[in-house]
Symmetry: C2
Subunit: 381 residues, 2 copies
Amino acid sequence: MTTVDHLRQVRLGNLRTVLLALVDRPGSRADLAARTGLTKATLSNLTEPLLAGGILVEEPATLVGMGRPSKPLRFHPAGPVAVGAEINVSHLAVETLGLDGETLERRLVPADMRRIPADEVLDRIAGLIREVTGGSERRLLGVGLAIPGVVHDGAIVRAPNLPELVGTRLAEGLGERTGLDVQLDNEANLAALAHLWPRHLAGEDFVHVTADVGIGAGVVLNGEVYRGVSGFAGELGHVVIERNGIRCTCGSRGCVERYAGLDVILREAGRRRLDSLRRALEAGDPKAAEAVRKAGEALGVGIATLMNLFDVPTVVLGGSYAVLYDHLREAVQSEMDGRVLAGGERHTRLLASPLGEFAVVRGAAGLITRRAVQQPERLFA
Amino acid sequence: MTTVDHLRQVRLGNLRTVLLALVDRPGSRADLAARTGLTKATLSNLTEPLLAGGILVEEPATLVGMGRPSKPLRFHPAGPVAVGAEINVSHLAVETLGLDGETLERRLVPADMRRIPADEVLDRIAGLIREVTGGSERRLLGVGLAIPGVVHDGAIVRAPNLPELVGTRLAEGLGERTGLDVQLDNEANLAALAHLWPRHLAGEDFVHVTADVGIGAGVVLNGEVYRGVSGFAGELGHVVIERNGIRCTCGSRGCVERYAGLDVILREAGRRRLDSLRRALEAGDPKAAEAVRKAGEALGVGIATLMNLFDVPTVVLGGSYAVLYDHLREAVQSEMDGRVLAGGERHTRLLASPLGEFAVVRGAAGLITRRAVQQPERLFA
DNA sequence: CTCATTCGTTCAATGCTTGAACTTAGTGCG
DNA sequence: CGCACTAAGTTCAAGCATTGAACGAATGAG
């Protein structure tokens, strides 16, 4: 690594700083200089190739106040685009996202994926991606691919609800079909990322908790999704809350999942689908409300344990839990207040995710735009 | 930040790399160049001020093999020294540590600290430090101070066993008394650090678990001690294993601490002190063995939960747990095997700490030597 | 003594940010 | 209309740690 290489790293680091500022909001060279702490000279220098490369555009001067009018820079409306894709138990989804954080297109196709072989799943995802990107000439930065399973070194090592996928190398398969670079990650991690990038919902470290068949937590530490040594981090569903409790498919006993999983809630409420449960809750069905409240208690105990270990101040409930938030909140918050050690010092914040059913695909696309910003050399490839 | 500043950062980074290599083991300039990936030219350049400043010494040439003999560099035997200090419920301890990782002096003074006002505690610690460092002319890099409590922004925000200390600013007080820079941290974090620096016991991420009155876990992620947003991370003692279990002083129910705390083990075994329990175990007392085994079960459940959240592969049992290791191991390992999700993929390793009762002070001193190596500019101050 | 071998030193070349000076492009006022 | 004023954006020389190649130093083998 020569000194020249080091200086190039410095340049790339500054480029990243500038792009991060632009993700936050557009701004003139002078404005960006003020926001990043760099000088105007450096900003002229750094933005020149971004403008030439079609990553940024210079807007016409805005005529306000005295002095030479500034010409704001923003991400080029025909600039590069990231693709997010999600393979899940009951649906496929695809979304495209610009570097400015604006969603361009989305598709969500309900379909039972449990018995479909990996090759066919990939064909269908690739088809959806073509549909969504077909009409546009914009350069594609890559695909983020979300799956309900544990990913380690690009391979799926665990996927209790989509066992057909275990051991397959989905990223390579989809890469061949689309000609794009594909990044594979767990849906819980990506849902958390969607709340962090491109706009930070909580403003600080948080845990994002979702329920589908299992319960997954995406943990954000120091502004980064924490994945653990082998991708198993944040397995909130298998936190034990009653050590001699109900036997779990994982071999343990008393896992949170056995008390607060969506399947458990639906069964206790005597419902088949989340929609039906929601309608029952809205209609004031006491059995449904009680089922959700009990799940909230168990979930709150698990979350309290998680907070005592990670010391994060904020919990975001997403997925089905966001739908049930109004009926979950009280029980969860009560267990948190009673059990989290740091609770006295500063409050433990509980939020509902505003992102809805597109949180995971959005995070998957965000994985790609984030990488492009953090490694700006990719924008010039 | 001018380019010149950036280049200075590069130099400091390289200096750090070289010092890290030297902590590992001594070596000639050529050897260090090979180990760090830098060039011989850079090594001559970087080591020159370290030799001039008395941080390193050049040994006489070693005459082995062909070619010009190499002159190994090592930390100067009269070079700077770090002080570790520990304030605990039943003892005070002090240790001095060289940059080479060698312990120079230690003192452990049993004493009940529970009613002693902070000022007197500081006087006694300062006295011990003077005793231990008095005879030497070596420069003191600073003091690492360990306390059984939660530290946030240099202040003690929680110390259930030494309530007199809450709210006091110990670092300032000790700094005034010794004229040294004092760094305050939690004993669980420092015990973990002692297993990571200057020699890495586990070789990868791990959790270090100790029991005194409470149960504390020091979590090492990516080679760094993870402290959380406000210093409360790793509160394993208050992980819930039976949500309707025994009421805990923290306000929760069923905390691990209530089943696996040292006080609980002693009570169940009908003993007063750890020594007595150990002798009973060695003598084959079945009541003692059963008390330890039961604690091991509870501890194992808590550790399994911790591993499912952090995804660390290794657990190190320290403090009293290290003493009881032979009688704890089986129960802990069994719960871990049955409950940790990643357990099937790669084994979960359980180790006993070899550091004994000086683990915490050693970590406290290590905090200072580590900082000196990571911020080499401090060595020239 | 000479050659081979390895250790350690010397030295010119390299390139990105900076801050000051400068140019550009507007507004405001007489 | 013209001149002072203001702010945006551009130009340019200066500054420094690493590098790689060439060189000097120190020893063993023959």
